[in-house]
Symmetry: C2
DNA sequence: AAAGCGAGACGAGACGTTGCGTATTGCAAA
DNA sequence: TTTGCAATACGCAACGTCTCGTCTCGCTTT
């Protein structure tokens, strides 16, 4: 009797577990979230959780997946008004708003920290959650390249890191607020670069 | 009998606890690190730990503090050869080497993740560990401003985030290797900016 | 078609283990 | 003589495994 048969899996129990996980995270910090607590809240046997998920982090990941699938069925797309600076500012502000929302912040922090300790989870994250979003960002930057706003030989992946890395980092490390001013300055710095220019602008 | 008297504290026990913490982190991931394990390894009573530290994270923080104080008594300074690009590349490579060293990586990951869940720890981190390093970075950038390499109205704190944020982020999220090529491209992108330039370089 | 059957997921919860944080006991140092 | 110390017992909570009895399927047999 090796593995359980996914075909016979009870979808209702699955969703109950995931929503219970999200519910509980509204009230208590992730480290205090327990499998037993999830099972009780979901009205589910502990074994049902241990049967389908290898770890608390895996449950969290699926819960997160449920969240993002509910929000948007299709692939994410970044706004493209032709003004890259405006679009980036808009998107980063939206991101900041999400990160400042305690509702979403709790599971996001939890996922982010589990990823740093669990390589397997990290890979799943990049495949299922990060990749589509990253592709959307890449697409927007490609469009800006086509429009002549960006250098053609710019490394888009590095560019994405340079734009979003500081925001995520500031949030994770709590080094400061994700204010509009910060985002404004960030976008300017990234677009213009740090080097002094000869006076030809 | 309210608080213990720090004057009568046993320095030997203190160091035993902190070094035991670091030792244990070489062998097992941080989540599996237990107070009881530290006490046993250190040859110390559990109560001695609970008397002086409020949490596992606090022990970790002090252990980390011990590490950085051992490494360098004085304030850190970044190299300044007059060539900002070269200096940044050098420093980032050194940082990447540290982060790639499993010895140091374990406690660093642990500290980074605890910070995201514990605001009090985050503040202590920024005061005692991040601030001095950040000041050194700021100083180097100021020097570059004075040398005319950088714009005078550049926001140095944002600049620091833009340079170091992507590295830390890539490492925490395991989104890719901290290779020399990555650092090279990163430094170039940050210094030159993403925007297309009119041909006046 | 209807009744019987086996497999396997399910809710519930007991079980031994582990680590938590507290309390107690001598001992040693200041 | 006071108080931090190592050691260890304690109650508690969550762990992960296990064993129940129930249920829901899909496949036979009639």
């Amino acid at each position: 009797m090796p593995n359980p048969d996914p075909a016979r899996r009870n979808e209702k129990s699955r969703r109950a577990v995931l929503t219970a996980t999200l519910d509980l995270l509204h009230d208590l910090p992730y480290p205090q979230l327990s499998i037993e607590g999830i099972a009780t809240r979901a009205g589910v046997g502990k074994q049902t959780i241990y049967r389908w998920w290898p770890s608390k982090a895996a449950v969290l990941f699926d819960a997160f997946l449920l969240l993002s699938e509910d929000g948007e069925g299709a692939l994410p797309v970044l706004p493209d008004t032709g003004d890259l600076r405006a679009d980036l500012t808009l998107v980063l502000r939206a991101t900041a708003a999400e990160l400042n929302d305690p509702q979403l912040a709790a599971p996001m922090r939890a996922l982010a920290t589990e990823i740093t300790h669990d390589p397997a989870l990290a890979e799943a994250y990049h495949e299922r959650l990060d990749a589509p979003l990253r592709e959307a960002k890449r697409q927007r930057l490609r469009s800006a390249q086509a429009a002549g706003e960006l250098d053609d030989d710019l490394d888009l992946d590095v560019a994405i890191d340079v734009i979003w890395g500081p925001v995520l980092n500031r949030w994770l490390q709590r080094s400061g607020p994700l204010s509009d001013e910060y985002i404004e300055t960030l976008v300017t710095t990234v677009l213009e670069g740090m080097r002094r220019r000869s006076p030809c602008d």
